[in-house]
């Protein structure tokens, strides 16, 4: 009998630094599987954000650049413009992309830069210890919103995928999650579609992935999945928001 399951070639053997139950690892694996299946590892350049995924280059076996906080879409633009033959993806958290880097992502999407953005939305700043993010839910307690996010003061959480889908430039914009196996299967399909659009030089793609941060949510991994399903999914609805066709 042949092997039925193995580590994608695009993933390294490095031990993970992600916390137990964190879904960053699942998303890494999906991206790596897609890179393998499309056979593009040797011409791929990933861009790590500033956030928990800053060390992403330790886990992937393709070329990588590490951006400053929020600037991955500008770096991806620089790479893609001077080397359009490379396959480029950014991997960014919600503080990175939706707060400090909001300008860069909107303009890259609007120019129709032909790269893929994997946007990991865990409703909190993970790396710096659980501060409020632009995606933090109303009433959600964080280390900088100890009484819960007060929307009177700081507004409602930003639905990034919806915001980008409103741009007139053709793009592939989708929101997925990795909370349950059925979600993971869908998320992988979306990531593959996004990379395929890039290979076909078609459009910019953003795959928002609803993710967990058990450490900063103060929940167990299992509770985290439940909380995300009950709290995040009703607000951040899953599905395709825009396709280039």
């Amino acid at each position: 009998m042949g092997k039925t399951f193995e580590k994608p070639e695009a993933l390294s053997d490095a031990h993970t630094h992600y916390c137990p139950g964190c879904t960053h690892g699942i998303i890494h694996r999906l991206v790596a599987e897609v890179i393998d299946e499309l056979g593009v590892r040797k011409r791929t350049v990933g861009i790590a954000p500033v956030g928990c995924a800053v060390l992403a280059y330790n886990y992937f076996t393709c070329d990588f650049q590490e951006a400053a906080h929020g600037r991955a879409p500008a770096m991806a633009t620089g790479i893609k413009r001077v080397r359009p033959d490379l396959i480029v993806f950014t991997y960014q958290g919600d503080g990175d992309l939706a707060s400090i880097g909001m300008g860069e992502i909107i303009h890259a999407a609007n120019r129709g830069e032909k790269f893929v953005t994997i946007f990991v939305n865990n409703a909190v700043y993970g790396m710096t210890g659980g501060q409020m993010a632009p995606t933090t839910m109303p009433g959600q307690r964080t280390t900088t919103s100890p009484a819960g996010r007060n929307v009177e003061e700081v507004g409602m959480p930003i639905k990034v995928a919806n915001l980008l889908a409103a741009l007139q430039t053709p793009a592939y914009i989708t929101r997925q999650s990795v909370l349950k196996p059925k979600h993971i299967i869908q998320a992988k399909k979306a990531i593959k579609k996004a990379f395929t659009y890039q290979i076909e030089k078609k459009c910019f793609s953003l795959v928002e992935v609803i993710s967990t941060c058990p450490t900063n949510w103060g929940l167990t991994p299992v509770e985290s999945i439940k909380w995300a399903e009950e709290t995040l999914l009703p607000y951040y609805e899953l599905g395709e928001l825009k396709t280039p066709e």
Partner: protein, 356 residues
């Protein structure tokens, strides 16, 4: 090649193309927007990349991304824009990528004004961004020299895998002067296989290249800083450039002046010579590395009583001049900023005063 009459900003754009740099990202700002305007049609003509970014912050990282791929890339901006790019410049220096930044300085601080100034001397030579890095800074005094320096900047950036800055002022950018373009540069960036994210299939080794600036281990980070320092020390040995002027005379006063300001000073030196008052001048062409030894030796000449730093800023370069003269002679400063370039008469007046 024959001489052509060209505006400094456009000549800078053309020089980059002739240096084999076909990638340009920029954000408009006076007094250098003509570079972007020129390259918006020139780059497509030569099959190059022209992109107007959404901000200087983004442009800084477009440059970083492109240089991380080992491609020749450059941008031009003016003071407030360079402030915004300074974050990226620090990252590019840390990641040891080559790139060229042109700053056509305008008056500051803040929005300042749009007229020529040399107020960004500290920013260019002492930092601007965070951390222990240096830029190789070249300061042209004419459109011709701007062209030559831009063309030299790319191989230098590649030699050191470090950003190079061309520090001009609004006058260099706006002035029309005859220029003769050197031959197209034939050298290509080398050795990028070891570090650039060119895509693994372009290289023999099966090791991914990672362009990064995070080094959490104290020893590793210290070692990176030692590597950077060794490069800056090598620049100090190999790249110092300056032009001596009237230095064989028995000058009473020694001027140190660069860029547009040095041209005014030259006229003042010539005029004073006719009056029988000898003034020598050292014009730094590189601001980092700074011609410390040349200034120190020139200051030591027996006839020399005073050294004066003449700059279109409120006493910035004078600190490096003091550092070079090492107390051998009194060091004075004269300057103006805000956009008014001191006239030869004003400079002569000041020199007569210092020469008393």
């Amino acid at each position: 090649m024959r001489k052509v009459l060209m505006k400094g900003n456009e000549a800078i754009g053309e020089a980059a193309i002739r240096a084999g740099c076909l990638n340009y990202f920029a954000y408009p700002i006076t007094p250098q927007s003509e570079v972007a305007e020129y390259l918006s049609h020139r780059m497509p003509e030569v099959g190059g990349v022209f992109l107007q970014g959404e901000s200087e912050v983004a442009v800084g990282y477009m440059i970083f991304g492109a240089s991380g791929c080992g491609e020749r890339v450059f941008t031009t901006s003016s003071s407030p824009g360079i402030s915004l790019m300074s974050e990226a410049i620090s990252y590019i220096a840390s990641a040891q990528c080559p790139a060229v930044f042109v700053n056509i300085i305008r008056g500051g601080p803040g929005l300042g004004g749009i007229l020529p100034s040399q107020g960004d001397y500290f920013q260019a030579t002492k930092g601007g961004g965070h951390g222990d890095y240096r830029l190789l800074v070249m300061a042209p005094a004419s459109v011709q020299e701007a062209v030559e320096m831009v063309m030299e900047a790319f191989p230098l950036a590649e030699k050191y895998r470090n950003p190079v800055m061309i520090l001009g002022d609004g006058l260099i950018g706006q002035m029309m002067e005859p220029v003769e373009f050197p031959e197209h540069l034939s050298s290509k960036p080398t050795n990028k296989d070891d570090w650039a994210t060119t895509g693994m299939d372009t290289r023999k080794s099966d090791k991914p290249n990672v362009v990064k600036t995070l080094f959490l281990d104290a020893k590793v980070l210290n070692n990176l800083n030692l590597t950077l320092k060794a490069k800056y020390d090598r620049m100090k040995k190999e790249e110092v450039r300056y032009e001596p002027y009237n230095i064989d005379s028995d000058y009473k006063v020694l001027i140190v002046s660069y860029g547009t300001m040095s041209r005014v000073c030259k006229t003042a030196v010539d005029n004073l010579k006719e009056e029988g008052f000898e003034v020598g001048m050292i014009r730094p062409q590189t601001l980092f590395p700074f011609p410390e030894t040349a200034i120190n030796e020139a200051a030591g000449k027996k006839s020399c009583k005073t050294v004066v730093s003449i700059e279109m800023s409120m006493g910035q370069m004078v600190e490096d001049v003091e550092r070079s003269v090492l107390g051998k002679r009194p060091v004075e400063w004269y300057g103006k900023c805000g956009g008014e370039v001191p006239t030869p008469e004003e400079v002569m007046e000041v020199l007569r005063e210092f020469g008393k």
